[in-house]
């Protein structure tokens, strides 16, 4: 055992942690609790205490966390599918309630400290739902798509960020990848989200209107997460779809049919 006085260490740690916490009056009805917890952008978590009848201390974020997430995410999607399940699971595991968009815990003076940690843990986990999803769809997805593509098609048969110059304003309608095709060039698009799905619909419509000769293959991050109407419009103008990169054998089979591999 190292030569450390556990009691002194505990006291030092407690003093340091207490020094990071401050309670201040925000309004006559609301106390704010400042802690070292921050969102990834450096903004401090917003934790408040409202005193309710019966001596209940309601710890609440006053609805800030969901508002913060809404800067970059459609928070309605936290109420649907997998995200909704994870959102509910986090609330359940941390015993956090949601009232009109506010995350809260009804506490007491004896339990306040541990409940602040629980609410902080819930805010972290809920924020990570958005962060992890965004990271996966916007960054890793394109990397994974590139890797999957080059596992099947030789690099010399592929042109990234291709512009179909025979069309007016070609630079407004970029094509993720142009692949040498057996019958016609294959235009491949990665679709990590709803915005990209709408963009690709427009690009494909313009290509068709310009009578471009091509076959299209669309690879989704998660096809099931797209609204039906967006997917329907995209289906009407596309040739082949891959529901996710997890369907790698289907991706390979379809690409091998369409592309020149040697």
């Amino acid at each position: 055992m190292m030569n450390i006085d556990v009691d002194i260490l505990q006291k030092t740690l407690c003093d340091a942690m207490c020094g990071e916490v401050r309670v201040r009056e925000k309004t006559p009805e609301i106390l704010a609790v400042d802690t070292p917890f921050t969102f990834p952008d450096g903004d401090q978590y917003q934790l408040y205490i409202k005193v309710l009848p019966g001596g209940i201390l309601r710890l609440t974020d006053m609805g800030h966390t969901l508002m913060h997430l809404s800067y970059e995410h459609d928070i309605d999607r936290f109420r649907e599918g997998t995200r909704s399940m994870l959102f509910d699971k986090i609330k359940s595991e941390t015993s956090v309630d949601e009232r009109e968009g506010a995350l809260c815990i009804d506490s007491s003076p004896d339990h306040l400290a541990i409940d602040i940690f629980r609410l902080g843990q819930a805010i972290t986990s809920i924020s990570d739902l958005g962060f992890l999803k965004r990271s996966r769809v916007e960054s890793t997805f394109y990397d994974d798509l590139r890797e999957s593509l080059f596992r099947v098609v030789p690099a010399e048969k592929v042109r990234k960020d291709y512009l179909y110059e025979s069309m007016d304003n070609a630079s407004d309608y970029p094509i993720d990848y142009r692949i040498e095709g057996r019958e016609a060039p294959v235009f491949l698009f990665g679709i990590p989200n709803r915005d990209k799905a709408k963009t690709v619909t427009i690009i494909l419509e313009h290509l068709l209107r310009a009578n471009a000769a091509f076959e299209s293959i669309l690879v989704f991050s998660d096809q099931s997460s797209l609204p039906r109407a967006d997917l329907a419009r995209l289906t009407n103008v596309s040739d082949t779809m891959i529901s996710s990169l997890d369907a790698e054998s289907d991706f390979r089979r379809k690409l091998e049919k369409m592309a020149q591999l040697n």
Partner: protein, 165 residues
């Protein structure tokens, strides 16, 4: 496009290009606990850049100082990046790289090459401002700083006279 390669010069170019709101009559949407508006913004030069101007206001009593508005660049490949965000004074902020704390004061987040390169949140850097105290005033500052035309509600016009004359 990988954001790792974005420079401060390119961020300045995006913020500084003249822009126009395409849907100025977009209505407020009430979400649980807050109100939000998202405007579509396009560059007026031949760059073809597209953006989203967003505003958020916490609706809880006593939380009037919890607001934000910002400009998000919508890259043509479906990715997006918050270029700047004008926050209310409801919370402290910490610039993680500089280890600098901002108190309960309005502050402006700004995407920087430094934070992107350090694998931090691109808009993790913020600086204090006393140019606004409300969401309405913050939006006016944002449209002025980011050269956005076309956001001409009666309220904004009235406040513009107060702020800029």
């Amino acid at each position: 496009m990988a954001f790792e390669s974005i420079t401060d010069e390119f961020i300045e170019e995006l913020i500084g290009c003249r822009k126009m709101v395409i849907n100025p009559k977009t209505r407020d949407v009430n979400k649980p606990g807050h109100k939000q508006v998202n405007y579509i913004v396009k560059a007026l030069d031949d760059s073809g850049h597209k953006f989203e101007l967003f505003t958020r206001q916490n609706l809880a009593e006593g939380m009037e100082d919890d607001f934000s508005c910002g400009l998000r660049w919508l890259a043509s490949n479906g990715e997006s990046l918050i270029l700047c965000r004008y926050n209310g004074s409801s919370h402290p902020h910490r610039n993680k790289i500089e280890n600098q704390a901002l108190g309960l004061i309005c502050h402006i987040h700004r995407a920087t090459e430094r934070y992107i390169t350090a694998n931090q949140k691109p808009d993790g850097f913020a600086y204090e401002t006393d140019n606004y105290q409300s969401l309405q005033e913050a939006v006016l500052c944002l449209v002025r700083d980011c050269r956005i035309d076309g956001l001409l509600t009666d309220t904004v016009e009235t406040n513009q006279i107060d702020l800029f004359t």
